[in-house]
């Protein structure tokens, strides 16, 4: 009996060390001793990831700048986490679901959602600027880990409908302490719900370091207790993120249930622009992580193979700059907000009480207009 339990556990275990296919210099790392076989993604895929990371980083820097201009109420940067956000996003299909948190703006842009719609929540004109059903992308979630249970339910719904769509749900390291993380993994496992739980372990939950968040040797080990296979991956290695996502997706799509990924990465900026990261971490630590830049890493690999040259890099940088410029222009236009919409979507049909409140606000606005 004991051996059976141990054997079952073996198949769930993550690799002893984070899976890495490219080292920080862009050199290929020989695959030995990983829990599963991970294949090097094609050059074409890595070029697509590199391209989206360049665009994504420039978007992120622009969004941070927009907070300084007062155009965004707040912005949680994901600069440095490009390999996670872009890699995981490009690994899934348009028909797959995504369940993002407030930090996944770059992932949403990579998904093809209009960046102005992505920033709606943070600008403050709407809680969600895009259509979750049309984009298969849930509203960015502010409470921690609550959307993981939704992801498990949506993935189960897809399975019940006879489709092979999966749900990809993002969280950070701190969110693994929340009760809903536990309930989501447990539900997904019991219902064999094709859900990929993608933890971006960026080392801090606002100011609280991982060491004060958990005693687990790796957040990926949390899968074992639920019967969910898991892997830990170098979250700054785009090739490894793609490879691990491929395995997780194959697992989920083939009816074997959920998969947990812990991506080791680092949040180069503060939690949000409202946070002062110098209070809780050293500049040496940040500098060390700058040397693990996911864009430089895959760029070096692509260049060494002749898949990329300086002209393409320059053209891509120009494209990123143009997109940022367009975003800046569009964000500088005042958003239109319709006051009467306040009452439109509390219920499908407003109650008598909402109609009364609507009439009051309407009268107030009319009085204001004629004053």
């Amino acid at each position: 009996m004991e051996t059976t339990a141990h054997a079952a556990t073996e198949s769930l275990l993550p690799s002893a060390h984070p899976v890495q296919l490219l080292d920080p210099t862009g050199a290929e790392v020989p695959q030995t001793g990983t829990a599963r076989d991970y294949a090097m993604p094609s050059a074409a895929r890595l070029r697509a990831v590199w391209h989206a990371m360049v665009i994504g980083r420039r978007f992120d820097i622009q969004a941070t700048a927009l907070t300084k201009q007062g155009r965004l109420a707040v912005y949680p940067s994901s600069r440095g986490q490009e390999a996670c956000q872009v890699g995981a996003t490009l690994a899934i299909r348009p028909t797959d679901w995504m369940f993002p948190t407030y930090r996944e703006s770059m992932a949403l842009v990579t998904r093809g959602i209009d960046p102005v719609e992505v920033l709606s929540l943070l600008r403050g004109d709407s809680h969600c600027g895009y259509d979750p059903i049309a984009t298969h992308t849930a509203a960015q979630c502010t409470p921690l880990s609550t959307q993981l249970v939704h992801a498990a339910g949506a993935a189960y719904g897809e399975k019940r409908r006879g489709r092979d769509s999966v749900a990809l749900a993002f969280i950070g390291d701190g969110a693994t302490s929340e009760g809903d993380f536990h309930e989501a993994l447990n539900f997904a496992a019991v219902f064999e719900s094709p859900t990929i739980f993608f933890v971006q372990n960026n080392k801090y939950a606002i100011s609280v370091p991982l060491s004060k968040q958990t005693k687990a040797p790796s957040l990926a080990y949390k899968g074992i207790g639920y019967g969910v296979p898991a892997e830990q991956v170098d979250g700054n290695d785009p090739a490894a993120v793609l490879a691990v996502m491929d395995v997780a997706l194959e697992h989920a799509r083939s009816g074997k249930g959920p998969f947990l990924i812990e991506a080791h990465t680092y949040r180069l900026d503060a939690h949000t622009n409202a946070d002062d990261a110098t209070r809780y971490r050293s500049s040496d630590e940040v500098t060390a992580w700058l040397d693990r830049d996911p864009i430089a890493r895959v760029e070096a690999w692509l260049k060494a193979r002749g898949e990329l040259n300086d002209d393409i890099v320059a053209a891509t940088n120009a494209e990123a700059e143009a997109r940022a410029s367009e975003l800046r222009d569009r964000m500088n236009a005042e958003p239109t907000v319709e006051p009467m919409s306040l009452f439109d979507n509390v219920f499908a049909e407003p109650t008598a009480q909402l109609e009364e409140a609507r009439a009051m606000v309407q009268a107030e606005l009319e009085a204001e207009a004629t004053a």
């Binding site: 969600c128 339910g153 809903d180 539900f187």
Partner: protein, 339 residues
């Protein structure tokens, strides 16, 4: 010809679930113990056997998980009806209910509606131990985006649950568990007035008792007893707390000139206070006396052997009626805990 027969509220709810499962393949019933066992109150009795475990199934014991999972299933077009087993057991799901269930339509500018029903057996009177008897309707009613429904008889239980399942918005369906075994001569299926429509359960001319759910039968008994003392008492059953039927309540109180709000829930900052405030605002010139509340005490729900003292009963309603004459300085000592 009438084939009306005695139907309990519990079996009316079971029939409503059956009919909904039969009529709409997207309706699913799930929660802790709802499958093989048929629910601890047997409200889901036989559903798994009759409709298959795809349509009615047991989940892990995790209320946030049950509600959150239902949210996700709504995204793929299902209409989940989930059970919380007991009132206070729903509190772990409170974040999912208030932060997500209530807000999803609004957050997504109307693009994502959540046609789900959360069934919550609630309130006391059954000798339940701690955490099994809370009146939690106030929490839900205070949260914009949730419809809050509570039947008081079998006919309404059937009709309101069918409507809740058909509704495009999330409905917190509060089931007064002390009334599960109450019987009514009815023929199912039947439809009663729609959400947002209160019903006058007894006509009267001197005072209006506004009440709902578990307190309705008690209020009717009190009205009967008050008749012996010469009071003609009207009883209004709200049926749905959200949406709220100002019209029926106001029409009644303007006619009778007196109002007592009767609820099992504690009075302070609750639904009964809201009703009292609405009546005061709208009926001030018709009122012969202040609006009184007869409610549960301002205490954590007591141990079963003491619940009779906590629960509002006929005597307290009669006492409140007697204090409505207002010839003297009002004594508000026990009016909904106000002093």
């Amino acid at each position: 010809m009438s084939s009306a027969r005695p139907v309990t509220m519990g079996s009316a709810l079971n029939t409503a679930l059956r009919d909904s499962l039969r009529d709409d393949d997207d309706v699913l019933v799930f929660g802790e113990d709802v499958g093989t066992l048929g629910g601890v109150f047997r409200i889901t009795d036989g559903l798994a056997a009759n409709f298959g475990e795809d349509r009615c199934f047991d989940t892990p014991l995790a209320e946030a998980g049950i509600v959150g999972f239902a949210i996700g299933m709504c995204l793929t077009g299902f209409r989940p009806v989930v059970e919380m087993q007991f009132d206070a057991f729903a509190y772990p799901a409170f974040e999912q209910i208030t932060s997500h269930v209530a807000k999803m339509r609004n957050r997504t500018s109307g693009r994502v509606g959540l046609p789900m029903v959360i069934r919550v057996p609630y309130a006391g009177g059954i000798g339940g131990v701690e955490h099994h008897c809370d009146s939690s309707e106030g929490y839900y009613a205070h949260t914009p985006g949730l419809k809050v429904v509570t039947p008081s008889d079998a006919a309404d239980a059937y009709s309101l649950l069918r409507e809740a399942i058909d509704d495009p918005d999330p409905v917190i369906f509060m089931e007064p568990k002390a009334l599960y075994w109450s019987k009514q001569e009815i023929e199912l299926p039947s439809r009663q007035p729609a959400f947002g429509k209160a019903v006058v359960r007894r006509k009267g001319t001197d005072v209006t008792l506004v009440t709902y759910g578990p307190s309705v039968p008690m209020a009717l008994k009190a009205a009967e007893a008050a008749a012996d003392e010469g009071w003609s008492v009207e009883v209004v059953d709200l049926r749905t707390i959200v949406p709220f039927d100002d019209e029926t309540v106001v029409e009644s109180v303007r006619r009778t000139g007196r109002c007592i709000v009767v609820s099992e829930a504690q009075g302070f900052a609750g639904v009964s206070g809201e009703v009292a405030a609405r009546v005061s605002e709208r009926c001030f010139h018709s009122l012969q006396a202040p609006v009184l509340r007869v409610s549960g005490l301002e205490i954590p729900y007591p141990a079963p052997m003491l619940e009779k003292i906590h629960l509002p009963g006929v005597e307290r309603v009669l006492d409140a009626i007697s204090r409505l004459q207002w010839d003297d300085q009002p004594d508000l000592t026990f009016a909904g805990g106000a002093v």
